[in-house]
Symmetry: C2
Subunit: 161 residues, 2 copies
DNA sequence: TATTGTTATACTCTATAACTATA
DNA sequence: TATAGTTATAGAGTATAACAATA
């Protein structure tokens, strides 16, 4: 794991100076509540995953490649809403760290087929185990039953009609 | 409204190439579901607010100042989890646009007391009206009843114990 | 000594334009 | 003509260190 990336050290954990501020216009906002929830989950993410030096979207890329060996860059970047032009550096970084590799497959010779290296496989397995504990901790904030309800509601929210 | 800021034009609206990818490891993740929901709300935000050229966190700053006239920079930046050092440029920008002003009050002479200008008051009123329509649209994705439930669950999630 | 606001700085994230090699 | 991946570039977001004025 040669290359060191920058990681947040102070990441948004502090509670607001409660009561000193009228925050009602924001509390009532679904958009802002989603933002706040994400920041709050983000803090727990780093608490759990710090040692691996892997950002949330990098984690997403790795597990998608693991679940879809040989997938193209465009499919993953589309799924993660990362523009293909910005995705190049993402994959470059994971490749530099020896976790993934691009291969030219016999089919479409424009496309890169993405795979985990053997190192990557081992690494991602550990990553997923730690990530599972992090997810469990997130769930425990609401309890399993309400947590699953939240998951369902977020899914419905993100995929309307 | 002199200064023009950069705004996203492509902002994450596209649906993923459904079915081509096994996304189950991410679908089950609360952290990733929060991220996806936020991206999805973000698209609607810009659809509604584009004309004002105001980013979500700028909107948050403006409504907090309106609800708390004379508030200090540190209180707002703490509430919004923006570091005080980065908050300087945020306020500078709003001030350049003639929407807010810093005043030195007689109390703590280190602190800036933040106010909306008269222009700012008028502007934020329009902003809030448009934002209310955007929020209503978000709510309509789930229906009012489930929308309120989601809001409550996000609040509980973000403020554990 | 601690806090409020500030400047300087650097890395990361997200966007557009323009290119290449294939299809 | 269109698509997959790429480079170059720029603005926005988020982090640290160090400082002046004030408490």
């Amino acid at each position: 794991m040669a290359i060191k990336q920058k990681m947040p050290e102070t990441s948004a954990r502090k509670q607001s100076a409660a009561g000193l501020l009228n925050t009602s216009p924001l509390d009532a906002s679904l958009g802002y509540s989603l933002r706040r929830a994400e920041l709050s989950a983000y803090a727990d993410y780093w608490a759990a995953m710090e040692a691996y030096d892997i950002r949330p979207y990098q984690y997403a890329v790795l597990v998608l490649i693991r679940a879809n060996p040989g997938v193209s860059q465009s499919l993953i970047s589309e799924e993660l809403r990362i523009q293909k032009t910005n995705f190049v550096a993402v994959i470059d970084r994971l490749e530099e760290r020896g976790l993934t590799e691009r291969r030219r497959t016999t089919g479409d010779r424009r496309a890169s087929a993405l795979f985990l290296t053997r190192t990557g496989e081992t690494f991602v397995k550990k990553l997923e185990a730690t990530h599972a504990r992090y997810e469990k901790k997130l769930m425990s904030r609401l309890g399993m039953k309400r947590g699953k309800l939240l998951l369902q509601m977020l899914h419905d929210f993100s995929t309307p009609e």
